[in-house]
C-alpha cells in the first residue's frame, strides 16, 4: 500500500510539532524516519496510525484520501503501529493478548487464533509460546507478538517506533530479517529511529526530521556525514575517550550470588578501581540488573561479600552505600529516578539544601540556574521533571549527583537518548572517572559497552563471564557471547558452577 502524507501540521499548545510534512512512501519499501528526540517523528507516526488527528493536512492510501478516528480505525484500513513499549497487557497470556480486540462474536475462537499465531510466528522464525504470560517475555518477544497480531488483523503498513531499544543483538537480526521479508511481500514498512547504523543496515530510503520539519530525504547507499548534518545541523564525531589512570579499589565483589524465581547467578568476583568503567552485557533479564542492584545494596545478595572502599557492606541497605559515596541511576527515570511533578529547582533543593526547615527560594533558583547552565538542561527552574525530554531528564539526574561520588551505578545510561545527548552524558561520566569515581553500568547497546568500558562482564543462561578487557572485543564478538556462542571459553572456571533452576519461565 502506498502511503502519502501531505502538508501535515500538528500543534501541541504553543509547540509546532509537525510543520507541513509531505512524504510519499511506495509499497514494498522500508522507509527510515530519522531524527533526534523531539524532532516530531513520533507525532507524525501517531497521526498516521490514528492516535492523534492532524491540525491540517491529508493522508492518502493508494491515492485515496482517508481520515482515521481511532487507532482501531487505522488498523481496519491497513495501518498498524508497533510502539516503542509494545502496547500489550503484561499480566495476560500470549494467546489472550493476541485475541483481545480482534473482531468476532462473544466467545473468541481460541483454537483458530492459536493456529494463526503459531503459523505466522513460524513464517518469521519467531518462537512464541501461546500459553506463556506476557510479563515473562523479553521486549523483543513482545514486539514479535505485536507484529504477528497486526499481520493477523490485516495490517499492510507497519510502523515501528524505535523498535531496537532494549532488545538483544540476535533479536534485532531476527527483526530486521522479518522486516525485509515483509517489504518483499509488498508491505510498507516505516522504521522510526535515531540510530544511523540501523538506517544504513535496513532502510531502502530515509527521511530526516529536525525540529518538526522534513529537512531531507535520501536513498541507499547513504552518505552518513550528510545524514548526520541533516539530523543535527552540524557534524558530530564519535571517538574513543582518552584512557583514565586507575586508582585504588573502590568496589570489590567476592563470590557474589543473586537470584530471583528464575535466575540463579553465583560466583561473581570482581574488583573495580577508581577511574575504571565496568559494563554488564547480556540479553534483557539475564541477571545484570539484579547483580548491579545487589552490588549497590538495593537488594540483598543471597551469598558472597560486597566491599565498598574497603568496608564490608554486604546486606546493608542502599542508603548506607549512598552515604558512603555511591549513587545508583536507574533506567526508569520517571518512576525511580525523579519525582515527575517536582520542578528542577525543587529537585536541586532536595539534593543540595542540607540545613534549615524552610526552602530558600532565591538559593533554589540560583542552584537550579547553575545546574541548568552547567548541565545544558533544556528547561527552566520551574519546569516539572515530567515535562523534560528523556535526554534532559538524564542531564538533571547527573546534575543531582553529589560532586564527591566514588562509585556510580547506572542502568542503560543513554537508553532512548539521541546521539548528541548520549555523547554529552558520557563526557560527563568520564569526567567523574577522572575525578576518582568508578562506574559500574549495564547496557544493551553494544557500541556503548565497547566504547566506554574498560572491562565487560557478559551474562548468558544464568552464568557470568570473567571480566573481559573491552580492547579484546568487538561488536561481533560481544554479540556472539551475548547469544551464547563461545561463552564457555570466557566463563571463570575457578568459580563454582552456577546454574539456572529447572522452573525457568
Amino acid at each position: 500500500m502506498q502511503v502519502e502524507l501531505r502538508n501535515i501540521h500538528k500543534f501541541f499548545g504553543p509547540v509546532h510539532a509537525n510543520r507541513g510534512i509531505t512524504l510519499t512512501i511506495p509499497a514494498g519499501t522500508i522507509q527510515g524516519l530519522l531524527g533526534e528526540n523531539g524532532a516530531g517523528k513520533s507525532t507524525l507516526m501517531k497521526i498516521l496510525s490514528g492516535f492523534i488527528r492532524p491540525d491540517q493536512g491529508e493522508i492518502r492510501l493508494d491515492g485515496q484520501s482517508v481520515t482515521f478516528h481511532s487507532p482501531a480505525d487505522a488498523l481496519a484500513q491497513g495501518i498498524g503501529m508497533l510502539h516503542q513499549d509494545p502496547l500489550d497487557f503484561p499480566p495476560m497470556r500470549v494467546l489472550d493478548n493476541f485475541v483481545t480486540g480482534s473482531p468476532g462474536g462473544l466467545l473468541p475462537d481460541r483454537e483458530d487464533a492459536r493456529q494463526a499465531l503459531l503459523s505466522i510466528s513460524q513464517q518469521f522464525g519467531f518462537s512464541l509460546d501461546p500459553d506463556a504470560y506476557v510479563d515473562t517475555l523479553t521486549v523483543g518477544e513482545r514486539q514479535q507478538l505485536e507484529i504477528v497480531r497486526l499481520l493477523w488483523l490485516g495490517a499492510r503498513v507497519l510502523i515501528f517506533d524505535e523498535p531496537t531499544t532494549g532488545i538483544s543483538a540476535q533479536q534485532r537480526q531476527k527483526l530486521f530479517a522479518a522486516l525485509r521479508r515483509l517489504a518483499d511481500e509488498g508491505r510498507t514498512i516505516i522504521f522510526v529511529t535515531h540510530k544511523l547504523e540501523e538506517v544504513q543496515a535496513l532502510c531502502h530510503r530515509v527521511a530526516v526530521l529536525r525540529a518538526g520539519e522534513l529537512v531531507g530525504t535520501a536513498d541507499a547507499p547513504y552518505d552518513l556525514d550528510r545524514l548526520v548534518e541533516m539530523m543535527f545541523g552540524k557534524v558530530i564525531s564519535v571517538g574513543r575517550a582518552d584512557p583514565v589512570p586507575l586508582g585504588e579499589t573502590v568496589l570489590a565483589l567476592e563470590d557474589l550470588a543473586v537470584e530471583d524465581h528464575r535466575l540463579n547467578i553465583r560466583g561473581v568476583t570482581l574488583n573495580i578501581r577508581a577511574g575504571e568503567v565496568v559494563g554488564l552485557a547480556g540479553m534483557e533479564g539475564s541477571g545484570q540488573r539484579r547483580l548491579l542492584r545487589a552490588a549497590a545494596g538495593l537488594i540483598r545478595p543471597t551469598g558472597g561479600r560486597v566491599r565498598f572502599l574497603g568496608r564490608d557492606m554486604t546486606g546493608r541497605p542502599y542508603l548506607d552505600f549512598h552515604r558512603a559515596g555511591a549513587a545508583y541511576i536507574p533506567a526508569d527515570r520517571m518512576t525511580e529516578g525523579l519525582f515527575p511533578d517536582l520542578t528542577i529547582a525543587e529537585h536541586v533543593a532536595l539534593a543540595r539544601q542540607r540545613v534549615g526547615f524552610f526552602l530558600r527560594a532565591e538559593a533554589m533558583r540560583a542552584w537550579a540556574q547553575e545546574a541548568i547552565r552547567h548541565f545544558s538542561i533544556r528547561g527552566r527552574p520551574e519546569t516539572p521533571a515530567r515535562a523534560l525530554s528523556g535526554g534532559n531528564q538524564q542531564r538533571l539526574l547527573l546534575a543531582l549527583m553529589r560532586p564527591d561520588l566514588r562509585l556510580i551505578f547506572m542502568e542503560h545510561p543513554t537508553r532512548g537518548l539521541d546521539l548528541e545527548s548520549a555523547l554529552w552524558i558520557w563526557g560527563q561520566l568520564k569526567n567523574r572517572c577522572r575525578q576518582g569515581a568508578a562506574l559500574f553500568f549495564m547496557s544493551s547497546d553494544l557500541e556503548e559497552l565497547l566504547n566506554y568500558s574498560d572491562r565487560v562482564l557478559v551474562f548468558f543462561g544464568g552464568r557470568v563471564s570473567r571480566p573481559l578487557p573491552a580492547t579484546e572485543l568487538d561488536v561481533e564478538k560481544l554479540g556472539q557471547l551475548i547469544g551464547g556462542y563461545g561463552f564457555d571459553r570466557v566463563v571463570n572456571t575457578a568459580a563454582p558452577a552456577a546454574h539456572t533452576e529447572g522452573e525457568a519461565a
Binding site: 497487557f89 503484561p90 480482534s102 468476532g104 473468541p108 543471597t302
Partner: protein, 332 residues
C-alpha cells in the same frame, strides 16, 4: 455441638455471604475496568434502607430490589461522571460519596426504623436439596443466594472467557492498549462502573429484605460490610472466584465469632463481633507480604531450600492490581 447444628450454621454462612458476594463481584467488575468505587459501604446502607422502604410502602418485594439496584447505579453514575467526565479524583469523590450515602441512609431511614417488612421466602430446590450435606448447605435458600452463586460463575466466565471480558481486563490494565484495539475506553468504564454499582446496590436489599430483614438504623449491623467488600476485591486479586471465596471466608469468621462466644465468657461480646474485620485485614496483609522490602531482604538471608519454598508460597498468594486502576485516560 451436633453435626446438624454445624450444618445449619454453615448453611447460614452461605446465606450471610450472599450480599458480600454481590458487592465483591460488583466492585471487582468496576475495578477491572480501572475505576475504584469507594462508595460501596454507604451505597449498601442507602440501598438497604431504600429497598426496605420501597418494599414496605408498596408491599412489593421485587420493587425493593429494583430500588436498591437503582440507588447503586445512580451513586456509581455520579462517581463515573465526576471521575471520567470531569476528571476529578476517584478516591476523593468515592470517599465523600461513601460518607454522604451512609448519613443519608440513617437520616432518610428514620421513619422506617423497627417496622415489620416483607421478607424473601425460602425456595427449597426440589430434588437437589435431598443431596446429603450439599443439599442442606446450598439448595435450601432464598432465590438471591442461588442468584449470587450463579453470578460468581457468570462473572468469572465473562471476565476470562469472552471477547468483551478480555477487553475489560485490558481497560484496567492498560487503557491505551485497549483503546488501540478499538475499545471506547470512557464508555465502557461508564458501563462497568454503573453495572458494578448496581450489583453493590443489590447487596443492600439482600440484607434488609432477606439476610437481616428489617431496617434498624445505626444498629442494623451493616456498617463496615462495604469496606470489607473493597478489601475482598483485593484479596480476590480481582478474580470473581477468589473474591467469592473471600466473601465466604468472611461470613465463616462472623459465624465462628458467634459460635465461640459461649466458650469465652471473659471476652466481651463486642470484641468477638468485630473480630472478623481485623482478621480480614490480617489476611490481606498476609497475602501481600511477599511484596514488602523487609520480606525480600529476610528471604535473601535464609538457607536456599527454605528460601525457595517460602518464595514459591508467597508468589502464589501475591496479588497485583490492574496497572491502570484509578488512573485517568486521555485518548490523545
Amino acid at each position: 455441638m451436633t453435626w446438624d447444628t454445624i450444618l445449619t450454621g454453615l448453611a447460614g454462612v452461605v446465606a450471610m455471604a450472599t450480599p458480600v458476594v454481590f458487592a465483591t463481584l460488583g466492585e471487582t467488575l468496576t475495578e477491572r475496568a480501572g475505576v475504584i468505587n469507594l462508595s460501596v459501604n454507604g451505597t449498601i446502607l442507602l440501598a438497604a434502607m431504600g429497598g426496605f422502604a420501597a418494599a414496605l410502602t408498596t408491599d412489593n418485594l421485587w420493587l425493593g430490589f429494583g430500588v436498591g439496584m437503582l440507588i447503586g447505579g445512580v451513586v456509581a453514575a455520579l462517581l463515573a461522571f465526576t471521575s471520567l467526565s470531569l476528571k476529578q479524583s476517584q478516591i476523593a469523590v468515592g470517599f465523600v460519596l461513601a460518607l454522604l450515602t451512609r448519613d443519608l441512609a440513617y437520616y432518610l431511614g428514620n421513619p422506617f426504623v423497627g417496622k415489620q417488612g416483607p421478607r424473601v421466602p425460602v425456595m427449597t430446590l426440589p430434588g437437589l436439596s435431598r443431596i446429603p450435606v450439599l443439599g442442606a448447605l446450598l439448595f435450601d435458600h432464598d432465590p438471591l443466594t442461588y442468584l449470587s452463586i450463579v453470578l460468581i460463575f457468570v462473572t468469572w466466565f465473562w471476565v476470562y472467557k469472552t471477547r468483551p471480558g478480555l477487553i475489560l481486563q485490558g481497560l484496567g490494565e492498560r487503557p491505551a492498549a485497549a483503546y488501540a484495539r478499538g475499545a471506547n475506553v470512557r464508555l465502557q468504564r461508564y458501563v462497568y462502573t454503573i453495572l458494578g454499582g448496581m450489583l453493590v446496590g443489590l447487596a443492600g436489599p439482600t440484607y434488609s429484605l432477606s439476610v437481616k430483614a428489617g431496617w434498624k438504623g445505626t444498629i442494623s449491623g451493616l456498617d463496615g460490610i462495604g469496606w470489607i467488600a473493597l478489601a475482598l476485591t483485593i484479596f480476590g486479586a480481582w478474580n470473581p472466584l477468589r473474591g467469592a471465596v473471600g466473601a465466604y471466608l468472611f461470613a465463616l469468621l462472623q459465624w465462628l465469632s458467634l459460635v465461640v462466644q459461649p466458650y469465652l465468657p471473659d471476652v466481651p461480646t463486642q470484641v468477638l463481633q468485630v473480630a472478623p474485620f481485623p482478621l480480614m485485614i490480617l489476611t490481606l496483609l498476609l497475602v501481600n507480604i511477599g511484596n514488602t522490602e523487609w520480606m525480600k531482604r529476610t528471604l535473601a538471608g535464609l538457607p536456599p531450600d527454605a528460601r525457595h519454598t517460602v518464595a514459591r508460597i508467597l508468589r502464589a498468594m501475591q496479588v497485583t492490581p490492574p496497572a491502570g486502576l484509578g488512573r485517568a485516560f486521555e485518548e490523545e
